[in-house]
């Protein structure tokens, strides 16, 4: 019975089984990448009572929160906070799209709009958010999430131009055109490393009021103008480093980043900021709970914790972007009392220009335009 052949049969089947398993892994990997996450995600039922149901899986930019808040939350509810970071919005979206599970994520408004419309988010039970009324009234109904059904607001900012008065003597003109024409700043000018901000700013300068246009002639013209500006550019940046260390004299910048630069500069009085007459882009972040969040109760508790006045105050002080709560906005007002040009007014927040998500052929048009600018 025991022939040499049958003796070797056992390892052979093993190997075959192994191969099959390995093929399964390979196939699984490819299916994972090909699969439509919408069908993968199962809808969840809402919790009845709010007790923490596990540790908090937190997903945000790095260093974009007062760490004391995370510590305080962990202590109060006796949970751990597992912090994960993304380095840009595309990275965040790709992770959520692929079905990676987080309890709370911090998308920018236009990405929140996409997630809401793609039905990726858990609806919020406002009766469980004791501090919901802390939210600045008009933002209880934000443009990206009518009725704030899926999100609570986080920070808000304007986009403008910052400059260093110790390097620049010639006055600016409150226009986006300053980036193109300021006589002293060629070779020391930076633009934001953000495709919507750069193309949108050029559209505004071209007097195109719709900063989300998908008319290819308008986008091409905006790109052509940026390419004319490019010889003056030293770089693209979305952080405050270059402004703070003097590499940059004139920068396309977010108001919150300007504030952060003030905090680290030796001579903050040399830093200035203007919003421009052709139009003021206003951006904001919010907190959402993805539908596939493993611990939705803990996430709800965290959202409410973030809305508490003391969290709003300490977070606004730490990150330099106002929280969109009554306390947050008041805290910010007093923080920037010395820098009136850094005030973010209610009028700007409510009537500023919003970037909308680019999708389909619009996304192709805009991302191709961005590649042309960067190439």
């Amino acid at each position: 019975m025991t022939t040499p052949d049958s003796a070797s049969a056992a390892p052979r089947t093993d190997r075959r089984r192994f191969l099959k398993g390995a093929a399964g892994v390979a196939l699984g990997t490819s299916l994972y990448s090909f699969g439509d996450p919408l069908t993968v995600l199962a809808a969840r039922t809402r919790p009845k009572a709010l007790k923490p149901d596990g540790d908090l899986l937190y997903f945000n930019w790095a260093q974009y929160i007062d760490q004391g808040i995370l510590k305080g939350f962990a202590k109060e509810y006796k949970v751990k906070v597992h912090e994960a970071n993304f380095t840009n919005m595309q990275g965040m979206l790709a992770k959520l799209r692929a079905g990676v599970r987080y309890d709370v994520a911090f998308p920018e408004a236009q990405f929140a709009d996409q997630l809401v419309r793609a039905n990726f988010l858990l609806p919020l039970d406002h009766s469980k958010l004791a501090n919901f009324e802390q939210i600045f009234k008009p933002l209880q109904n934000p443009w990206y999430d009518p009725g704030a059904k899926y999100s609570v607001p986080y920070s808000v900012w304007t986009t403008g131009i910052a400059w260093r008065s110790d390097r620049v003597n010639h006055a600016l003109t409150k226009s986006w055109n300053d980036l193109w024409t300021h006589p002293e700043t060629a070779g020391h000018t930076f633009l934001l490393d953000d495709y919507q901000e750069v193309i949108g700013m050029s559209l505004l300068r071209n007097h195109v009021p719709n900063i989300n246009t998908t008319a290819s002639s308008q986008v091409s013209k905006a790109v052509a103008e940026i390419l004319k500006l490019k010889p003056r550019l030293r770089g693209f940046t979305s952080v405050n480093t270059e402004m703070a260390n003097g590499t940059s004299w004139l920068t396309h910048m977010w108001s919150g980043t300007v504030y952060q630069a003030l905090l680290v500069m030796k001579h903050p009085e040399t830093l200035h900021y203007q919003v421009n007459k052709e139009g003021i882009p206003v951006g904001s972040d919010c907190l959402v709970i993805p539908k596939n969040a493993p611990h939705p109760n803990t996430a709800m508790l965290f959202l409410d914790y973030m809305l508490r006045p003391e969290s709003s105050a300490s977070n606004t002080k730490t990150i330099g972007y106002p929280m969109q709560t009554r306390t947050g906005l008041a805290t910010y007002s007093s923080l920037v009392k010395k820098y009136p040009w850094l005030q973010v007014t209610f009028d700007e927040v409510l009537h500023g220009k919003h970037f909308l998500p680019q999708t389909g052929s619009g996304l192709q048009l805009w991302d191709t335009a961005w590649a042309k600018i960067k190439a």
Partner: protein
């Protein structure tokens, strides 16, 4: 039985190659022909029907030619400089290093135990407008206000690339010099060859394989590099890796990034075939 066992050893690398090389590569190609849904996820089409070729039209337009050429130019300059610096270093260590030559090789690659990006940041700390070198220049009265702009130039990028990939040149050349029989050089001298003639007709051909290997190992990662240009360069030094990076991290329209990657890979593959064939021919000729 024994043969089967040996064949069995091929399974893990085979699976590894399939799962981590063939499948991802196929996905990149598939993405390049795809369209995207509302959230930007690729919608794949069955081969040949309904393929979206518009991104290839974009790639073949003039738009990305400067970035392609910059990548090839920077990588060629990097390879040449690595050879110029790396060959003598490898030669001296291998021939005159004596008992400490292994230690010298370890010392040479010691900085590479530190993360790649940290080493690039170190260059920023050294050469930035408010960096250490500008500080020295200022103290010596040799300028510094306004500071000398080292960063943001094409030579800063090439310098960073040379620094990043030098060991890939030194190690293969070192191995080939060490493998060479030193009596060959003595023979060359015995035949009244000048040092240059001996080098040209004996040492160089004997170590040529190491030079070819080193050049490939430096050139390939250098063409695809984006970190050096991102941190040490300016908007005027964008390499093709930067453009691909910007497509994915900007609007995140994957099909365009996929199409640029596919064309870039094909271009580099063609370039490498050409290079290796002419290197093989040169090595045959010099052996004659």
């Amino acid at each position: 039985m024994r043969k089967r066992l040996w064949h069995g050893f091929l399974v893990p690398p085979g699976v590894w190659l399939l799962a981590l090389y063939v499948v991802p590569l196929a996905i990149v190609v598939a993405v390049s022909w795809a369209t995207t849904d509302f959230l930007g996820s690729p919608i794949y089409k069955w081969p040949f029907f309904g393929w979206n070729t518009s991104n290839y039209d974009t790639v073949f337009s003039y738009t990305f030619v400067p970035a392609f050429l910059r990548s090839l130019g920077f990588a060629s300059a990097t390879t040449a400089l690595c050879l110029l610096v790396g060959y003598p270093v490898a030669y001296v260590i291998a021939r005159y290093g004596g008992r400490v030559r292994h230690l010298l090789v370890v010392l040479l690659i010691l900085p590479w135990f530190v993360d790649y990006l940290i080493r690039i940041y170190a260059w920023i700390a050294l050469l930035g407008d408010d960096g250490i070198v500008n500080g020295w220049l200022h103290r010596l009265g040799l300028g510094g206000n306004p500071p000398v702009q080292f960063l943001g130039t094409w030579w800063a990028v090439v310098g960073g690339l040379v620094y990043s990939y030098l060991p890939f040149m030194v190690l293969p050349v070192y191995a080939s010099v060490e493998r060479m029989d030193p009596s060959l050089i003595e023979a060359g001298k015995d035949l009244y060859g000048t040092p240059w003639q001996t080098f040209r007709h004996v040492t160089w051909p004997a170590t040529f394989q190491g030079v070819v290997a080193g050049s490939v190992l430096v050139f390939l990662p250098a063409t695809g590099d984006f970190a050096n240009s991102l941190f040490l360069g300016s908007p005027h030094t964008a390499m093709i890796g930067n453009v691909i990076n910007d497509v994915f991290n900007g609007g995140g329209y994957w099909p365009l990034g996929g199409a640029i990657s596919v064309i870039f890979m094909l271009g580099i593959a063609g370039f490498m075939v050409f290079y290796l064939r002419s290197a093989a021919r040169a090595s045959q000729e010099s052996a004659l």
